[in-house]
C-alpha cells in the first residue's frame, strides 16, 4: 500500500471509529463491551479496505460489522443484545457528538497516564493495539494489558461516561489537553527509537485537538493547543534534512514553511485571546507564532518572546520554561547574561540534555571552547534521540 493510501486509510478510520465508539457506549451502556466491538470492526476494516477499497459509507460499514459481532459475542448479555437489535442506524440527525464524553472518560485522572494515552488512541482515534505498540516502541502485550486494566478499572471503580460537572470541567479539560499535548510531543519528536519522527501520532494529536476545538469552541486553551500543534507542523518540512538530521531554527529554509497554515493558526490564537483567559497553550502558541511570522531569523522579535516566556513561567512555573527564556535572553541581553540565567537552573536541569547543549552553545560564543565541548559531551550522554545525537556529535567534532 502506498504511503498516501495508508494515510487515507488512517484518516478515515480516525474520523469514524471514535464516533462509532461513542454511539455504541451510549447504546449498550458498557464501555468495555462497546470498545471491544469497535476494535474488532477496525481490525476488520484494516483487513478489508486495503483490498476492497474504502467503502462509500465507512461509518455504516464499521457499524454493521460491530453490530453483527455484537449480536454474536453478546449472546449471554441479553440486555446489551436487545439494545443492539433495536438500535436505529445511522443515529438520528442532530444527535450530539458524543466523542467529548468518550475522551473525558479515557483521560480520567483515576487512570494511570500511560493508560489514558493508549485508551484515547484506541477508543477515540481507532488505533489498533499493534499500532500503538509500534508508535511507542513497547511490546504489544504491554499496550493490550494497559488497555484491559484501564477498561476493568472504568467498570469496577465506576468511572462515569459523562462530562465533568461545570465546576470540575476546567481542571479535567487541562488533563485531557495534557494527554493530547504529550501525544503530539511523542509524535513530533519522539525521544527514543530510530525513527526521528513518527508522523502518525502528530496527526492523531492534531485530529484530537481539532475535534475538541469543534466541540468546545469557546475554550481558549483548546484553541491555543490546536494553534500550537498546527504552527509546529507548518514548519515540519524544514526541520529535517533528507538524511533525517535536525535543521535548527536559524538555519531552516523558511520558504518551506506552510504560510497559509501559519496565518490560520495565528487567527486561532487571536480568537482564543478574545476570551481574555490566557493559558499555557495560548502562550506557547504565541511564542511559536512570533518565530513563524519572522521572515528571517534576524527579524525575530526577541523582546516579545522573552516577555511571552516570562508570562508563561508566571502562569505555569517550570525550569524548562526558564531555560527557554534564558535562550531568548541571549538575543536581547547577550550571551553572558543568558549563561548566568542558564547556570541558575543547574540544580533542576542537570539531567536534561538541552540544558547542557544550551550551555555549550553559550560557552562557545564566549570563547570557552573546552568547557563547551565538555557540555556537549554531557548532553550527548543524556539524549537517546538519534537526530539530536548526530547534531551534538557533529558539534563536538567540528567546533
Amino acid at each position: 500500500m502506498s504511503a498516501a493510501a495508508e494515510a487515507e486509510l488512517a484518516r478515515v478510520v480516525r474520523d469514524h471509529a471514535g464516533r462509532l465508539a461513542a454511539s455504541l457506549v451510549s447504546l449498550i451502556g458498557d464501555f468495555a463491551a462497546a470498545e471491544d466491538l469497535v476494535a474488532d470492526a477496525v481490525e476488520a476494516a484494516l483487513r478489508h479496505w486495503p483490498v476492497e477499497g474504502i467503502p462509500a459509507n465507512p461509518e455504516g460499514w464499521l457499524y454493521t460489522v460491530a453490530r453483527r459481532r455484537g449480536l454474536d459475542v453478546l449472546r449471554r448479555h441479553a440486555r446489551y443484545r436487545d439494545k443492539l437489535v433495536l438500535a436505529a442506524w445511522p443515529p438520528p440527525a442532530g444527535e450530539p457528538d458524543d466523542r467529548l464524553r468518550l475522551i473525558f472518560t479515557c483521560c480520567h485522572p483515576a487512570l494511570p497516564r500511560s493508560a489514558r494515552i493508549a485508551l484515547t488512541l484506541r477508543v477515540v482515534c481507532g488505533l489498533t493495539t499493534a499500532q500503538i505498540a509500534r508508535a511507542f516502541l513497547v511490546p504489544e502485550t504491554t499496550v493490550a494489558q494497559r488497555i484491559t486494566r484501564a477498561k476493568r478499572k472504568i467498570a469496577d471503580a465506576g468511572i462515569p461516561y459523562r462530562l465533568p460537572d461545570s465546576d470540575e470541567l476546567g481542571a479535567r479539560l487541562t488533563q485531557v489537553l495534557a494527554v493530547v499535548y504529550l501525544l503530539f510531543n511523542e509524535g513530533y519528536l519522539s525521544s527514543s527509537g530510530d525513527r526521528v519522527q513518527s508522523r502518525d501520532l502528530a496527526d492523531d494529536a492534531e485530529f484530537l485537538a481539532a475535534m475538541l476545538a469543534g466541540l468546545m469552541p469557546t475554550e481558549p486553551e483548546v484553541l491555543g493547543l490546536l494553534a500550537l500543534i498546527r504552527l509546529h507542523r507548518a514548519r515540519a518540512a524544514a526541520r529535517f534534512t533528507s538524511a533525517g538530521e535536525i535543521v535548527r531554527l536559524p538555519e531552516q529554509d523558511r520558504s518551506r514553511w506552510d504560510r497559509q497554515a501559519i496565518t490560520d493558526a495565528t487567527r486561532l490564537i487571536a480568537r482564543a485571546a478574545a476570551a481574555r483567559r490566557p493559558g499555557p497553550y495560548q502562550l506557547q502558541a504565541a511564542i511559536v507564532a512570533v518565530h513563524a511570522e519572522a521572515p528571517r531569523w534576524a527579524d525575530t522579535d526577541w523582546p516579545q518572546i522573552v516577555l511571552l516566556y516570562t508570562m508563561l513561567d508566571g502562569l505555569a512555573p517550570s525550569p524548562v520554561t526558564k531555560l527557554h527564556r534564558a535562550i531568548a535572553l541571549r538575543y536581547v541581553a547577550g550571551p553572558r547574561a543568558a549563561l548566568a540565567a542558564v547556570d541558575e537552573l543547574a540544580e533542576p536541569l542537570s539531567g536534561y540534555h538541552l540544558w547542557h547543549a544550551t550551555r555549550a552553545e553559550l560557552l562557545r560564543e564566549l570563547g570557552q571552547a573546552d568547557q563547551a565541548r565538555a557540555a556537549d559531551a554531557r548532553a550527548l550522554e543524556l539524549t537517546a534521540n538519534p537526530a539530536e545525537r548526530s547534531l551534538l556529535r557533529e558539534r563536538i567534532t567540528w567546533t
Binding site: 483515576a110 471503580a157 465506576g158 462515569p160 460537572d165
Partner: protein, 113 residues
C-alpha cells in the same frame, strides 16, 4: 455505587493536630462533624479508629499465626478511619472527598459485589 473512603493520617498531620490548642482542635473536629452532616444523605456508615499504637497484627501465612504489635505496614501513613458512601459514580465520590476537611490522604475503593 458503594465505596469505602479510607482516611489516612500522616505523621505530620498527627503532629499538627497534637500541637493545636483546645479551641483550635475543637474547631477542627467541628469541621469534620459539619462535613459528615453536609453529606449525611450519601454516607451510609463510618468508623473512627483508635491510634496505631493500639493495633495488633496477626500473620497467618504458613505455620503458626504470628502476633505482632503495631499496624500491618510500618509507615508514616496510617489508616485512621473509614466511611461507607453510596453515590452515582467515582466522580461523585471524588467530589465528596475533595471537600474533606481533615487528614491529608483519602483512598477510595469500590465495595465488591
Amino acid at each position: 455505587m458503594k465505596y469505602v473512603l479510607m482516611f489516612v493520617e500522616t505523621e505530620r498531620f498527627a503532629a499538627d493536630l497534637a500541637a493545636m490548642d483546645e479551641t483550635e482542635r475543637e474547631r477542627a473536629y467541628g469541621r469534620v462533624r459539619q462535613w459528615f452532616a453536609d453529606n449525611a444523605d450519601k454516607i451510609t456508615g463510618h468508623t473512627y479508629l483508635m491510634p496505631p499504637h493500639t493495633a495488633t497484627t496477626v500473620r497467618l501465612e504458613g505455620g503458626e499465626p504470628v502476633v505482632t504489635d503495631g499496624p500491618f505496614v510500618e509507615g508514616k501513613e496510617v489508616i485512621s478511619g473509614f466511611a461507607e458512601i453510596d453515590v452515582a459514580d467515582l466522580d461523585e465520590a471524588l467530589r465528596l472527598v475533595r471537600s474533606w476537611p481533615a487528614c491529608p490522604l483519602v483512598e477510595i475503593r469500590p465495595i465488591a459485589g
